[in-house]
Symmetry: C2
Subunit: 319 residues, 2 copies
């Protein structure tokens, strides 16, 4: 495993070199503008209404100089000069905080807002040039990859991190097969028989799909799929919940709960009278979700599947 880390370190260093070089070209925006990199960062920070700490509700919470210095890790003396320059050319205004007369509350003037907007637009244009050679149909891949790098490296989640559900599209069934097969292989050692079963269920789902009676939802965070569930008809009165799964990266975010709730609601709306599902006792996280959704365990069966001795469970929810 150490080898893997070393290889990754090498890759990161290569990536850094490449990325700084590529994005470095982007700095020419700043060369054009009358601002230093640091000045631009300060200007940008002034534009942010709220700092990292949640502002007192209601108040716009304009930042103070020391806040910005801490945030951007800029020398206070240097920051003073930058702020004076900004004030001299009319980009910012500063008034002493009545609550603490040492502090100065900073804000952008309309002229400052305009300068910031212009800078942003220029930077956006440069960034757009960066991706102008990326084919249209691979843009989402790039976005997903960037997002993945960010989250894996500890980029704190943002408001766009909301979980969304969408109906399935072409390729989603395959995605579910792949992810679940891999997930249960890693976590429980299930063999490839499980993947075969998943593929069969997936194929059946498509073959026997009845619009308005069968459903599949993919849960996404920021455009990246993180979970899925299927709701299929068994007969006129009974619907079956199948193949629920949540990616390891999205555990504990209520994704599973959302997916199950969606199934229950849709099943009710469709007029089904009962919702059943089959799972295995070792999947304790899923079990907790089913219990909380109102399912009750009605039977257990022992079976040898996927290379393991397992205990299957049938759960039912009367709608």
């Amino acid at each position: 495993m150490l080898d893997e880390r070393e290889a990754l370190v090498a890759r990161i260093r290569h990536f850094n070199r490449f990325y700084t070089r590529t994005v470095g070209l982007l700095d020419h925006t700043l060369g054009q503008s009358a601002f230093t990199l640091t000045e631009a960062r300060v200007l940008f920070e002034l534009g942010h209404d709220s700092g990292p700490v949640a502002p007192t509700a209601g108040l716009p919470s304009r930042p103070t100089a020391s806040e910005i210095a801490a945030q951007l890790r800029v020398d206070a003396a240097y920051l003073t000069r930058i702020l004076r320059k900004f004030a001299d050319i009319g980009l910012t205004e500063a008034r002493t905080d009545p609550a603490d007369r040492r502090r100065r509350i900073l804000s952008l003037t309309p002229k400052g807002e305009a300068a910031l907007a212009a800078l942003q637009a220029a930077a956006d244009r440069d960034t757009a040039r960066l991706i102008e050679n990326v084919p249209e149909d691979r843009l989402d891949e790039l976005g997903a990859a960037l997002r993945k790098v960010g989250t894996l490296l500890g980029d704190p989640a943002r408001e766009e991190e909301a979980v969304t559900l969408r109906p399935h599209r072409v390729g989603d069934v395959g995605w579910v097969v792949q992810r679940q097969a891999r997930l249960y292989a890693v976590e429980y050692g299930w063999n490839i028989e499980f993947e075969a079963m998943l593929a069969e269920i997936g194929a059946d789902f498509i073959r026997n799909f009845v619009p308005g009676r069968d459903f599949c939802w993919i849960a996404e965070i920021g455009g990246e799929p993180v979970g899925a569930v299927f709701l299929v008809h068994q007969d006129h009165e009974v619907a079956k919940l199948r193949m629920l799964h949540v990616e390891a990266s999205a555990r504990g975010m209520g994704v599973g709960k959302r997916l199950v709730a969606q199934c229950v609601n849709q099943a009710r709306a469709c007029g089904y009278v009962r919702l059943v599902l089959w799972t295995n006792d070792i999947l304790v996280a899923a079990r907790a979700i089913y219990e909380r959704a109102g399912f009750r365990l009605v039977s257990e069966d022992h079976h040898h599947s996927f290379g393991k001795d397992l205990t299957g469970q049938t759960w039912v929810l009367d709608l």
Copy 2:
């Protein structure tokens, strides 16, 4: 589509901010060392045996000052000073090029090599700290994501870009289903029926898998899957090549050819006497590969599948 680009631009800019901040912490390595960022880059470049241009075979091809200046985009005068500093503390040696006595050929002394190694090690240590919080089982995701960002943004291919084939693992069948379904949906408008067929074929492959008679290979570039093919027994004498596909991102790199060749070779080694495959006439790239591998078209059939009117083709290769 413009919206998508705009959203991506916003994401990239966010990523930049995050990444420069995160990796910026990494610069403290240089703070410790006696070197400027630029000095370090120069030292690093001196360590590279060969520049971007292929060196004359055999000769180590030590870089000249101007080459490094061009490569790293540093001022020639500045570079002179840096190189003198290096020479003064005994890290580099320079001798005039006999072929062009204006030029100075640079090389690291053993002491220089040591300094470079130390710097590299320190940088590696810092980078390792960057990923110390990434769980072991997600390292490969990070690597793949970084690689994807690089290739999409035009990072030139490197020597590790060689295509490698490996047998299938758990999850690969699902991956093939997903990728092919999506690929043909985008490129030819095939509907989800195709995905159902893929899933069925995949399930059958696993169910009826006979070791030594059935095979699946995944083509990878730098650890990322870029294509796949299946070789399955039809009867004792006849093998069938199925579900060949190459990712759009890896076209024109001989991936398809490699996969087909692998099938042909393996089929011969297994003692099959004939290799058959079924494809569609619109898949011209695949057709060319089959022809060049020696297959001959034996029959055509018209069918309505996947929401389209298609012409199927059966190809045969006598082994």
